[in-house]
C-alpha cells in the first residue's frame, strides 16, 4: 500500500463525495426555480422536459406588479417584512440588555430564570397556542399583525438572551473595570465597550430573529386569516392547496419566499455559522 495510492484514493473519494453532495443540495431548489419560469406544458409533459423550451418571468410579473388576484401576495410579502423587521428590532433591543444583565449581574434565582427562558424557547408552538389564541381573541386582536409581533417577540427574546449571554460571557471583565476606572457609568460601559465588541454576536442574533419570524408558520396559521395580516408561509401553504393545478405559480411563490432568507444566509454566512455554533454547541 503505497502513499501515492492512498493519496489517489483520497482524492477520488473526496471528488465523488463532493459531486454527490453538491447535486443533492442544489437539485431540489434548482428544480423549484426552473418550475417557476417554465411553461406549464413543459412541466406536465411525460416524459418530463428538464430544461424548459422557453423561459418566461410572467408569473413573477403577475405576482409583483399586476392588479389581479395575485396582487394579494404583494400585500402579504409586506406583512411578512413588517412583522419580521419589527420583531427583530424589539428582540435585539430587549434581548441584549437582558443578556448583559444575565451575564454580569448576580441576582437570586438567576439560574432558574435562565432555565425557564431556555425552556420557553424550546416549547413547541403547538403546546402554547391555545392560551395564546384565547388571549388574543378576548382582546380582539386576532388577525392583526400586532398580535404576530407580540407572540414572536415573546418567543424569540429568550433565544436572543440565551445567545447574547454566551457572547457577553466571552468578553473579559477587566475591560469593564478599566472603563469604570476611566469614569464610565454602567450604561456607557455597555454602549462604548461591550456592544462594539459584540457586534458579531448582535449581527448573528439580528439575522436569526429575522429569519425565525420570516418563516414561522404555525402561529401565523392560527392567528391570521385575512390578507391584511397573513404572512408569506401561510400564503404558501394556501397556494399549495388552491393552485394545486398551477404548479408554476406555487413554485414562484416559493422562490419569492425563499429569496430573502437565502440571500441573508449567503451574504452573512460568517456571522450565521458563528452564531449557529455558539448557540447550539457551546450553549
Amino acid at each position: 500500500m503505497g502513499v501515492k495510492k492512498r493519496k489517489l484514493m483520497r482524492s477520488i473519494v473526496i471528488a465523488i463525495g463532493s459531486i454527490i453532495l453538491t447535486t443533492v443540495l442544489i437539485a431540489p431548489p434548482l428544480w423549484l426555480v426552473i418550475s417557476s419560469v417554465s411553461d406549464l406544458k413543459d412541466l406536465l409533459a411525460i416524459p418530463l422536459r428538464w430544461i424548459p423550451q422557453q423561459i418566461s418571468f410572467e408569473r413573477y410579473a403577475k405576482i409583483l406588479f399586476s392588479q389581479g388576484p395575485e396582487s394579494e401576495f404583494r400585500i402579504i410579502m409586506k406583512n411578512s417584512l413588517f412583522v419580521a423587521s419589527l420583531v427583530t428590532i424589539i428582540c435585539v433591543a430587549i434581548g441584549s440588555f437582558s443578556a448583559y444583565a444575565f451575564s454580569r449581574l448576580r441576582f437570586p434565582g438567576k439560574e432558574k430564570i435562565l432555565f425557564i427562558l431556555l425552556f420557553s424557547y424550546m416549547l413547541p408552538p403547538v403546546a402554547i397556542i391555545i392560551p395564546i389564541y384565547q388571549i388574543f381573541s378576548s382582546a380582539n386582536l386576532l388577525d392583526t399583525r400586532g398580535a404576530l409581533v407580540l407572540v414572536y417577540s415573546a418567543i424569540i427574546v429568550p433565544f436572543v438572551i440565551w445567545i447574547m449571554r454566551t457572547y457577553f460571557d466571552t468578553i473579559p471583565h477587566d475591560l469593564e473595570d478599566a472603563a469604570k476606572i476611566d469614569g464610565c457609568s454602567s450604561l456607557s460601559t455597555l454602549f462604548r465597550v461591550i456592544l462594539p465588541l459584540s457586534v458579531p454576536g448582535i449581527v448573528a442574533t439580528l439575522l436569526f430573529a429575522f429569519l425565525m419570524s420570516w418563516e414561522e408558520f404555525f402561529i401565523a396559521l392560527i392567528l391570521t386569516s385575512s390578507p391584511a395580516a397573513k404572512t408569506i408561509p401561510v400564503a404558501i401553504a394556501e397556494f399549495s392547496g388552491r393552485h394545486s393545478i398551477d404548479f408554476g405559480m406555487m413554485a414562484t411563490g416559493g422562490v419569492l419566499a425563499a429569496i430573502p432568507p437565502v440571500l441573508i444566509a449567503l451574504l452573512f454566512q460568517k456571522y450565521i455559522v458563528g452564531g449557529l455554533l455558539s448557540g447550539a454547541v457551546k450553549g
Partner: protein, 266 residues
C-alpha cells in the same frame, strides 16, 4: 435592567398561563391516555424521530468528515450547506410535495428515465411511502445543519492524536472508531437532544405535504393536537395534549442542559 426584569416576568407569565388555564380536570388526560389515536400518533412521532435522526446523524457525520479534509472548492460546498437551512420550512415542504407529485413529479420522472420504475407511482397516497416522503423533506433540510455542528466538533480534535495513531500503525477506519467517534460523543449528544426536541415541532411539513393523511399515516403528535384544538375545536382535549407535550419537552430540556454542563467540563 428594569426591562430585563420585566421581560423575564413576562416570559414566565406566558408559559404559566399556557399551563394553568387549560386545567379542566383529569378527565381529558385519562381519555387521551386511553385513546388509541394518541398512542398511534406517539408511535408515528417516535418513528419519524428515530428514522430521520439516524439518517441525519450518519449522513451529517460523513459530510462533516468530507468537509474536514482540505480540498479545492471546500469553501463553496460549505456555503451551499446553508442553502437548505435558510430555505423556509414551508418552501421546503411545497418543493418536496411538487417533486413527489404522483402525476408530474420530478422524482417519478427521474426514476423512470433512469429505468428504475416503468410507471409513475403515487408516493404521497400510500401510507408507508408518504411517511418517508415527509422524512425525506425533513432530512434534506436538517442534515446540513447537523453536518455543520459535527464539523465544528471535528475541528476541536487535536491533529496530534491522528499523527500519533498513524505512527502506531493505525489505519483510517481504526482512527475513526477509536479517536474521532469517541471524542465527538458530546457533540452527538447535543445534536441528538436538539433534534428530538425539534421532532415535537414537526408540523409545517405534515400540514402542507399530507395533512396527516393518507389514512392518518403521517399524523404526528403536533398535528393531532392542532386537529383536536382547531379543527374539532376541542380546546380542552387539545390543551391536555399540549400539556403532555410540555412535560416531555421539559424533561428533554433538562437533559439538554445537563449534557451541556458535561461538555463544558470536558
Amino acid at each position: 435592567m428594569v426591562l430585563s426584569f420585566y421581560d423575564s416576568l413576562y416570559q414566565i407569565d406566558l408559559t404559566r398561563k399556557s399551563q394553568g388555564t387549560p386545567f379542566v380536570g383529569f378527565g381529558n388526560y385519562a381519555n387521551i391516555l386511553k385513546s388509541s389515536s394518541f398512542w398511534q400518533s406517539v408511535g408515528r412521532t417516535a418513528y419519524f424521530t428515530v428514522v430521520s435522526i439516524v439518517i441525519e446523524m450518519v449522513a451529517g457525520f460523513f459530510i462533516a468528515l468530507l468537509l474536514n479534509e482540505k480540498f479545492w472548492g471546500r469553501g463553496i460546498l460549505r456555503s451551499l450547506l446553508l442553502l437548505p437551512w435558510a430555505l423556509p420550512i414551508t418552501v421546503d415542504a411545497i418543493m418536496w410535495k411538487w417533486i413527489f407529485n404522483a402525476n408530474y413529479g420530478a422524482f417519478n420522472a427521474f426514476l423512470q428515465q433512469i429505468g428504475l420504475i416503468d410507471k409513475y407511482q403515487a408516493w404521497m397516497t400510500k401510507p408507508w411511502s408518504a411517511m418517508h416522503c415527509v422524512i425525506a423533506a425533513d432530512v434534506w433540510k436538517v442534515t446540513p445543519l447537523v453536518a455543520l455542528l459535527l464539523l465544528a466538533g471535528l475541528q476541536t480534535i487535536p491533529k496530534q492524536l491522528y499523527e500519533a495513531a498513524l505512527v502506531d500503525g493505525s489505519g483510517w477506519w481504526r482512527s475513526l472508531f477509536q479517536i474521532t467517534i469517541p471524542l465527538l460523543m458530546p457533540t452527538f449528544t447535543v445534536v441528538l437532544v436538539l433534534r428530538t426536541l425539534d421532532a415535537f415541532r414537526v408540523f409545517d411539513i405534515v400540514y402542507i405535504m399530507t395533512q396527516g393523511g393518507p389514512a392518518n399515516a403521517t399524523k404526528v403528535i403536533s398535528f393531532l393536537t392542532y386537529q383536536e384544538a382547531f379543527k374539532f375545536l376541542n380546546f380542552g382535549r387539545g390543551a391536555s395534549l399540549a400539556y403532555i407535550i410540555t412535560m416531555i419537552v421539559a424533561l428533554l430540556a433538562y437533559l439538554y442542559t445537563r449534557s451541556m454542563g458535561k461538555q463544558i467540563e470536558y
